[in-house]
């Protein structure tokens, strides 16, 4: 039975369970819901959950475990062949699976019947051709042992699938029955359902952990490979970033410090632009602006967050950069000669700051708006001006949310690529001058990953090391931010 149908059956049982559970609860209470511990629908949900959740869990578990078991038993069949050919067992097993899948498809599409499959002989039939006909890629011709293994793989899978359906439906029915029988007027259905909801909430929260785990896992192996090829100390403490093409024998300098410095510098400038503008905009929108102004200006500012970053990049490259040169360049307006090219930390920072305005403004606006009116009244009643009220009462009360918004903006600044590539240049440099070109870790991750150096060279692998280092550093910054917010949190009412 295909999994989708199985799932539909389970869901249908869940719906039936809901109705039955609700009915039984009402019946046990003599038709008066006031005699129930919980609202009648909670009993329904309880039965529905008891029916579907364990069944689904079993299904997922089964789908994960069955291949493992079948693999291990089938690989026994081909292990001889593996040792003979010196090929890895894994590869042969994946071949077996592909053959089996191909046979399945062949049967489904009617190219072969089950009997014909049974009768297939690797020596006589050209199985590779046969399966290619139904769209299955095989790396090599099929050996007899592979075919045998594939056949038994199919057989075991069939048996497994049948039992899977039986067990899953049985579990659903059992769940339905048990929870239905448990349903009576004193049963704490709400608590049970809420436990279930809580479990879902916890699961949702742990997706963050899983994602982190996934990121670390998908970076760590290549990072370790990188450190095998390139000394860690030079990576962490090297003062220059200067990759070359390893095809001609090394000489790359891959120090992360200039990149980190660029990241910090550009993000800092971006925040210096975005935070005051965003914050003042938020204050104006929530405290001063009339309703129509607010309802127009806020979504408009949010458009800034939706403009693709490549536009910002071009804006930096074509408009802001030359403009800055005209002011700070050699023949510029100020005549200071601080800036020689249009691409600079300042250019990228400014433009990135513009992009980040809505991150600060919109979210802060919501938070400021949520501060109770009585706080404002209290302050205004003492003869404070509106701005004093905002600065001294409302902002402190809204601080945790605002810090959240700023952190979000900072995070975005650290992760941005296009604006940096186009606005700040590609040069890695350790310099204090904000009018010089620099680059960031993120920009280099992208460029090393999509570049022309070969993918097993340190020049490409360094992207992973950069990724994980940045990850660890931002983790540290976040822990610090959490600590700060905890310390200064003010709770109103």
């Amino acid at each position: 039975m295909p999994n989708t149908i199985l799932i539909l059956i389970v869901l249908a049982l869940g719906v039936i369970g809901f109705v039955l559970g609700r009915q039984r609860a009402m019946a046990s209470a003599g038709g008066n819901s006031r005699n129930l511990h919980s609202l009648p629908s909670y009993y329904g949900y309880n039965v529905a959950c008891a029916t579907t959740l364990p069944a689904m869990g079993l299904l997922i578990l089964w789908l994960l475990v069955q291949p493992l078991i079948i693999n291990s038993s089938v690989s026994g069949l081909v292990s001889d062949q593996a040792s003979e050919e010196g090929a890895s067992l894994d590869l042969i097993m994946s071949d077996v699976r592909r053959v089996a899948d191909g046979l399945d498809t062949a049967v489904e599409t009617g190219v072969l019947t089950e009997e014909e499959v049974e009768a297939l002989d690797a020596e006589q039939d050209d199985i590779r051709d046969l399966l290619a006909g139904v769209g299955f890629a095989l790396g090599s011709d099929v050996t007899p042992s592979t075919l045998e293994a594939a056949k038994s793989y199919r057989a075991m899978n069939e048996v497994g699938d049948t039992w899977k359906s039986v067990f899953v439906i049985a579990t659903a029915l059992t769940g339905l029955l048990v929870s239905w029988r448990m349903t009576n007027k004193d049963f704490r259905a709400r608590n049970v359902v809420e436990q279930g909801v809580l479990a879902i909430l916890i699961f949702a929260a742990s997706i963050a952990i899983l994602t982190t785990l996934g990121i670390v896992l998908s970076l760590i192996f290549n990072t370790m490979e990188f450190f095998r090829l390139y000394p860690a100390s030079e990576f962490f403490f090297g003062l220059s970033w200067n990759p070359s093409f390893s095809g001609r024998g090394g000489g790359s300098e891959l120090g992360i410090l200039p990149l980190l410095w660029g990241t910090l510098y550009i993000s800092l400038i971006a925040l210096i632009v975005a935070v005051p503008i965003g914050l003042f905009a938020a204050i104006y929108l929530s405290e001063y602006a009339s309703k129509p102004v607010r309802s127009v200006a806020k979504p408009l500012l949010e458009v800034l967050a939706g403009i693709p970053t490549i536009v910002y990049g071009l804006f930096a490259l074509l408009t802001v950069g030359p403009l800055l040169v005209e002011v700070f360049g050699q023949k510029g307006f100020l005549g200071v000669d601080w800036m020689s090219g249009g691409t600079a930390v300042m250019t990228a920072g400014l433009v990135m700051g513009i992009m980040l305005i809505p991150f600060v403004s919109s979210l802060s606006d919501d938070i400021i708006n949520a501060v109770p009116q009585s706080m404002r009244d209290g302050s205004l009643g003492l003869g404070a001006t509106h701005s004093e009220t905002v600065r001294q009462v409302i902002l402190p009360a809204a601080l945790p949310g605002i810090v959240g918004a700023i952190l979000l903006a900072a995070s975005r600044a650290i992760g941005e690529t296009m604006i940096v590539v186009l606005g700040a240049g590609a040069a890695a440099r350790l310099s204090m001058n904000p009018f010089e070109a620099m680059t960031t870790v993120t920009a280099k991750i992208v460029s090393q990953l999509t570049g022309d150096s070969d993918f097993s060279s340190p020049e490409a692998l360094v992207a992973f090391a950069l990724g994980i280092t940045l990850f660890v550093i931002t983790l540290g910054l976040n822990i610090f931010a959490l600590y700060i917010v905890r310390k200064y949190r003010e709770q109103y009412e």
């Binding site: 009585s374 003492l382 003869g383 404070a384 709770q491 009412e493």
Partner: protein, 266 residues
């Protein structure tokens, strides 16, 4: 000397009009909450507003320092003058008005700051203290006047929101007197206070009366009788009767007033 001062006080009580309201109407959207109220409130007097819940006492009180400006749907008509100056005049700066006309709200609303900062907030923004020591003095004095100093003197750094209901109310009183307003509007300032604290606050009100004008909303007839010289009785948005407290409580003119005082209408 003393006699003269006394005379002066008497005179001002009877003559100087501090606040004068003419044909005040207040609407909350369509709800006509204050209907054509005319009242003159004398300087250096305590005026009590009484009336059943929902009759518009708070609304009228909030008109006097223009706190109603903050409610979108609220619309005020008519004229309110303080010291002869129309407070709804274009030229009036509500900020300055509110510095002059302080307010204690019905629901205590301490800032989410330390107790000290709650009280010091007003003096700071008005620049009443030259240095920290002076500010400390002002805060202490205000807290003492608010009858809460003893309870909080050891925890001035604790948040004001962590106080009990009555403590919060007294903190808000202290906060309001710290800025030394000329008129103090108090919306049920003793509702959450025990008798002793109430007595202390009443004492404060009496002390303030020496120099300032105090308007107090109260549901306690006894309190109104105890602290006020003048009493205004509101009913369904109308100012039914406004007269000397003695008169109102002993010999009201309007029968609604009488019914209310004797506990027959609400």
């Amino acid at each position: 000397m003393e006699d003269l001062a006394y005379m002066d006080r008497q005179m001002s009580t009877e003559q100087d009009i501090k606040i004068s309201a003419k044909n005040v109407q207040v609407y909350y959207a369509d709800n006509h909450a204050i209907k054509d109220v005319n009242v003159d409130i004398a300087d250096k007097t305590v005026t009590a507003f009484i009336g059943p819940s929902g009759c518009g006492k708070s609304t009228f009180l909030r008109c006097i320092n223009r706190m109603n400006d903050t409610i979108d749907v609220c619309r005020v008509e008519g004229a309110i003058k303080i010291d002869g100056e129309d407070i709804y005049d274009k030229r009036v700066d509500p900020v300055q008005l509110r510095a002059k006309v302080g307010m204690v709200f019905q629901k205590p609303n301490p800032f989410p700051k330390s107790i000290y900062d709650n009280v010091a907030y007003g003096p700071r923004i008005h620049g009443l203290a030259k240095n920290r020591a002076e500010l400390d003095d002002i805060v202490e004095k205000a807290l003492r006047r608010g009858a809460i100093w003893d309870e909080v003197k050891d925890r001035l750094d604790a948040p004001g929101t962590g106080l009990s209901g009555g403590q919060q109310q007294r903190l808000c009183i202290a906060r309001a007197v710290a800025t030394e307003p000329q008129v103090l509007l108090m919306d049920e300032p003793c509702s959450a206070l025990d008798p002793i604290a109430t007595a202390q606050v009443e004492e404060l009100i009496d002390e303030l009366r020496q120099n300032y004008s105090v308007v107090i909303v109260t549901h306690s007839m006894q309190q109104a009788a105890r602290v006020s010289q003048k009493t205004a009785f509101f009913h369904l948005g109308n100012l039914v009767e406004y007269d000397d407290t003695d008169k109102i409580f002993t010999n009201p003119e309007d029968e609604r007033t009488e019914s209310y005082i004797s506990g027959r209408i609400g």
